[in-house]
């Protein structure tokens, strides 16, 4: 199944590209994600996602299948396995950045394959989870970007895209670095796991 999510970061496209393709900077911004190892364009990590009573932890690896810095388009392939349970998920995420001047929009197109019981579960819940995760990711990313370099606390300002002063964003970029591509990769397996869980819960959980 395929779904599309979009978010914006308050930096120009070249900066955004740099940050979003830098796995070590992006991963910390992904909710529940931890980077275990990086080997060139291949990386491994874990993602923990909670949806109601269900906690899914996925461990997997991902790699860039394509990284076109002139078109600002990257394709990541990710495979995840549940650390507790039998769920599997794999995803191909295509991230495309669009230049919007002071801000950059990132469109993530995810083609998700889930096997086993998860397959019975619906697209609605999956995309809901993915959207939520990507939303959180974007918020964290943005908060880091917008926060003054010295401040430890993320700013509350929800949509301060244009308000972020260039000079400061340069400094906070490191923090910012947190996110883009890995997220996509993370989100997918996670979402898959969640979805699977949900689906199963749905089917078996309560009513039979």
């Amino acid at each position: 199944m395929e779904f599309v999510n979009e978010f914006r970061v308050p930096v120009p496209i070249n900066q955004a590209w740099e940050v979003l393709t830098d796995v070590e900077r992006v991963v910390p911004a992904i909710p529940g994600a931890q980077l275990l190892s990086v080997d060139g364009d291949n990386f491994t990590g874990t993602v923990k996602v909670k949806v109601g009573p269900i906690t899914m932890q996925y461990k997997g690896n991902a790699s860039f299948e394509d990284k076109d810095s002139s078109a600002h388009r990257a394709v990541i392939r990710a495979d995840g396995k549940e650390t507790r349970g039998q769920g599997n998920a794999s995803a191909v995420v295509t991230a495309e950045l669009k230049d919007e001047g002071e801000t950059t929009s990132c469109v993530l197109t995810t083609d998700l394959t889930i096997s086993g019981k998860a397959a019975q579960f619906g697209r609605g819940i999956l995309s809901d989870v993915a959207t939520k995760l990507i939303g959180q990711f974007a918020e964290r990313l943005e908060a880091d970007l917008v926060a003054p370099p010295s401040s430890e606390t993320p700013t509350e300002s929800p949509r301060t895209l244009s308000a972020a002063p260039q000079s400061e964003s340069g400094a906070s970029l490191d923090l910012l670095g947190v996110v883009a591509l890995p997220i996509a990769k993370r989100v997918l397996p996670v979402a898959g796991a969640l979805a699977a869980g949900l689906a199963i819960g749905y089917l078996l959980g309560r009513r039979r």
Binding site: G52, I54, R84, G124, R206, R207
Partner: protein, 295 residues
């Protein structure tokens, strides 16, 4: 399948439960009737090291008239709610929704608070709480608070409850005057999660104009939903000027995350939902215009 091992705790009071939850942190989960949680544990979708059973706490049980509301304790079972005469006269929508909750055995153990806190998108009680404008009471070591049902359901199985907070009861406003209520649900088999469903509450003034309307939708989003647009469109208008079909269409018009799965596509669910709302509307209006004023 069997659940992974966990420690079972049965605190003596709600205070004890909240203290315990604060101590155990995120590895602990509240257990009420267990009709959703236990299967999830058995299927190993959910893992918790500790279960804190609140189902036996008397302070969480009961049905009381409190001012303009009926308060129902969180650990009150569905079966008790379905049989209660006070509820059937003051909050008939709850009584009518109850038979749709799973099966008899499930209703004998399942609780109101569990159903609300679990927040299944296809849950009946959450939809009733939304339609009637109920409020949810919760307690934590930080104190008590009341959360309007409209702000309670935040995502699939996600609610406004904080970790460690215990849902203690739900207050359902008693609708008075010329009122009508109806539940319509469609599932492949009775007791399955609804493919789509609706609960409708309507009150009329003496000129047959709609004075109040609540439409709850289930199975039609990532949370139970309220058809706010349709509700707003009918209030103040004369019943004779309204058609169920229009209201059904309107009720579907602001939904943006209808599930699509093996049980039915989003467009199918939306068509079923519109028909069900139209039927429930007709039923509720019929009752409001024919029945004697009560409550």
């Amino acid at each position: 399948m069997k659940a992974a091992s966990f420690d079972y705790h049965r605190p003596e009071s709600v205070d004890g439960a909240t203290r315990m939850l604060a101590e155990l942190g995120e590895d602990a989960k509240i257990l009420a009737g267990g009709q959703s949680l236990v299967p999830m544990l058995a299927l190993r979708l959910a893992f918790f090291d500790h279960l804190v059973d609140i189902s036996q706490l008397d302070e969480l049980k009961g049905i009381e008239r409190r001012g303009d509301d009926v308060w129902i304790g969180a650990a009150t079972t569905d079966a008790v709610i379905g049989d209660d005469e006070q509820i059937s006269s003051a909050v008939p929508l709850l009584t009518r929704a109850t038979p749709f909750v799973g099966h008899f055995q499930i209703r004998s153990r399942g609780t109101l608070g569990g159903s609300i806190a679990h927040a299944d998108p296809a849950g009946e009680y959450p939809a009733v709480a939304l339609a009637l404008g109920a409020s949810v009471e919760a307690v934590s070591p930080g104190g008590r608070r009341t959360i309007p049902a409209t702000e309670f359901f935040t995502g699939v199985w996600e609610t406004a409850l904080e970790p460690g907070e215990v849902l203690t009861g739900v207050r359902f406003p008693v609708w008075t005057g010329r009122r009508g209520f109806a539940v319509q649900e469609f599932a492949r088999r009775h007791g399955d999660f609804a493919i789509a469903g609706t609960v409708v509450a309507v009150a009329l003034d003496s000129h047959d104009r709609v004075s109040r309307c609540g439409i709850g939708l289930l199975g039609l989003g990532s949370t139970p939903r309220r058809a706010s647009k349709a509700e707003a469109a009918v209030v103040g208008r004369s019943v004779a000027d309204l058609t169920g079909d229009d209201i059904g269409e309107l009720a579907m018009s602001d939904l943006d995350d209808i599930p699509s799965d093996l049980q039915g596509s989003a467009s199918y669910r939306s068509r079923v939902g519109a028909v069900l709302v139209a039927r429930a509307w007709a039923e509720a209006i019929e009752e409001a215009t024919t029945e004697a004023t009560n409550a």
